[in-house]
Symmetry: C2
Subunit: 438 residues, 2 copies
């Protein structure tokens, strides 16, 4: 008796492979969706990556896509949406008691663009409350359910890393896309700030909030970049690491564990062995203050972002958001202006450094995924968010208990495709990147 | 027979006066709403300031407010909302065929905060399509219906200037709040960028979009600033112009008509006569490029802002938005990064200049309201939007055909209340500011 079913293995398809098979008539969106929904049904009661999945509605939509001519490059391809990004046909709950079962009237801009490209929205993924603070996502790490997948994009990272869906949208304000990718062992892109409209995603910090996404290959990250019209001024150099020039740094070495430091240094050794020139870069001394600068902007912008909820839903608003609205840290407006201007000048300074490299390598997280449900420290990620720089997490390194540790590749603003090209070169030369959880 | 009714004159109440009368039990929200709805019914068929008013629903809500204990400083006070800001109980149509009769599921953050303070949302006001480009508002100027009220906040400016409502929300991305105030002869505040959450207002440019508002007194502008928690680091100096230090400039003199130039110079003479020290300031030469810098950012951010509509609603999307999405101006990403960095450095430079003054005086518009429905040139306003500076329009000057011309008072970021204090000093010393249309 065969132990496989016809759908066996479909969950392993990347988005690119699935899109090609669907376009070629070799696979239906319905069959793929059914395989993923089966996997979700089997595994998500333990993992808890999803806040909302309507199996029947998804299969119905998949059948409609199967009957319709191709809408675009994602035709029929399933994707998960972080549950603080609006969807017109599924609730958007923000992991907040204020928004239980809330049904938005419109898709967020980033979701409407996905649907216009043919994507099949398969469900909503668990998030830290408002992708900001407050209540943790209930989600576990696919490689060790007792540990955190990271946050705030907890469910999106976990669902992709658990092979429950090939793609998922997240967001990053501190380190909410890249750190979970590192903890879960997935690829992720946080694009240049402003490259994708954030209309219809919950606000925290208008200066930092960025739509990002998860995948299990760089090719899939690139596929969504193309859908969102993210194009560098010049086509990036593709091909192997040999001959490339890479900078690397540990911006906050005291907050980097041995696991994370070793991942960066292993990547350095690996890239050198592959023929890249890899040099350590020195960041200007002011960069050491950027986590503090980030906090001033984050908490000050949070002060206005949550004012309406503070006034209209005080009882249901988590203490963390009251903290921001009341400005309990006591940041002055002068502090905020200084922080804005420091951030702006550091963007210029970083690009002077970064523009002479193909990419800059740095840690993606303080270390491996922590125990429990705390989403982890964003202190390795905030610097790039503040600099508005594109960041790709490349998995493929492993720390304590064999847990994944990723590395970040970053570069100047709007060099997203170049950074992706370097990530592709690195990923394709590594012995293993994304490891299927047991 | 008396020709007056009991409600005669209620339309002249400022928000502050109305709030006080309601709080004192001398006026009901219903009586005030009825007077304004009557005025809207009588005058708006010609003016066309409103895209949606549901008389019965407004009166029902007013009666509920009259029965309820005070919710806050706006209890029972009517306010209009620009029709690209979401309202949970009224459609939000953006003057776009894509959103005809669209009913949002939530209030925008700025609307929810108003309601929590007790405000009575009286209706939605006409806007330039998406407050950005495309279809003009159908609204006329209350002082000459053949002329434009300015845009994009056309209906909000016209409704307040026509004494149809004491307060209205608008937005500004170029000059969409301040210029209509100048054309219509109303007070307006465009606060410091980021001071009020813009969640739930349509996106155009994330770097520039700002919630602002209209009133017929500085006190009323201040009232809403207080509701939104806009507080300077130190309480502003209040009191008369005497002894204050004011700078003035004509940033784009070649684009300033005689009417507008004369309004600024009249304000200079007036403030000097009142005992202020008023000195002309020289802006750094790079400031002459800021309209170009503004356009690069505006059109580049518009490229991502309208991508979802371009992909999902191409046929119904106005050519102007196709222009932006297709980047027909051909702005490179390098152009955009340079524009961001120039804007950031000019913010620092402006504050070095502005911090030695109580406020900076400048034109609010190129001249008086133009004929037709074109919303006018934002070239006098974009500079302050780009600098993220607070701006108050003070009416009280009059140009060709007796049409209103306002002047702008601006200052460093987060000195909104100080700028309002200077505006109050100027306004209270002028012989006339807001003139009731015939």
């Amino acid at each position: 008796m065969p132990t496989t079913t016809p759908s066996e293995g479909l969950h392993r398809l990347t988005a690119t492979a699935a899109a090609a098979a669907i376009a070629a008539g070799e696979l239906t969106s319905e069959a793929l969706a059914r395989a993923l929904l089966d996997r979700i049904a089997a595994r998500d009661p333990a993992l808890k990556a999803w806040s909302f999945v309507d199996r029947d509605a998804v299969l119905r939509t998949a059948r409609e896509l199967d009957r319709s001519p191709s809408k675009g490059p994602l035709h029929g391809v399933p994707i998960g949406i972080k549950d603080m990004i609006d969807t017109a046909d599924m609730p958007t709950q923000h992991n907040s008691p204020i928004y239980v079962a809330h049904q938005p009237s419109l898709d967020a801009a980033c979701v409407e663009t996905l649907r216009a490209a043919g994507a099949l929205i398969i469900g909503k993924t668990e998030t830290l409350e408002f992708a900001a603070a407050g209540r943790y996502a209930p989600t576990g790490n696919p490689h060790d359910l007792s540990r955190s997948p990271g946050g705030s994009s907890s469910g999106s990272a976990a669902a992709v890393a658990d092979f429950q869906v090939p793609l998922a949208l997240g967001t990053q304000t501190g380190g909410s896309t890249i750190r979970p990718a590192s903890f879960c062992g997935a690829f992720a892109l946080k694009p240049t700030w402003g490259a994708v409209s954030r209309e219809g995603a919950k606000f925290y910090s208008v200066t930092f909030d960025t739509i990002g996404w998860y995948a299990r290959s760089v090719e899939d990250l690139d596929l969504l970049a193309e859908v969102y019209g993210i194009v560098d001024d010049a086509p990036p150099r593709t091909g192997p690491l040999a001959g490339r020039r890479i900078g690397y740094c540990l911006p906050f070495p005291d907050a980097t564990s041995a696991d994370s430091r070793e991942a960066v240094l292993a990547a350095v050794r690996h890239m050198r062995a592959e023929g890249a020139e890899v040099v350590e870069i020195a960041l200007p001394s002011v960069f050491a203050t950027l986590n503090d600068v980030h906090r001033v902007i984050l908490f000050s912008e949070g002060r206005s972002a949550f004012l309406n909820l503070y006034r209209a839903h005080f009882g249901a608003l988590h203490e963390d958001f009251r903290h921001r609205t009341e400005n309990r840290d006591g940041f002055s407006r002068a502090d905020l202006v200084r922080a804005y201007d420091t951030a702006a000048s550091c963007r210029v300074a970083f690009e002077e450094i970064a523009s002479s490299f193909d990419a800059i390598l740095a840690p993606s997280a303080p270390g491996v995924a922590p125990p429990g449900r705390w989403h982890g420290d964003p202190g390795q990620n905030q610097i790039w968010t503040l600099l508005h720089a594109p960041v790709v997490n490349v998995p493929g390194f492993f720390g304590a208990n064999g847990l994944p540790v990723g590395v970040s590749l970053t570069g100047p603003r709007f060099f997203d495709r170049q950074v992706l090209a370097v990530a592709a070169a690195l990923a394709s030369s590594l012995p293993e990147t994304v490891r299927e959880p047991a």
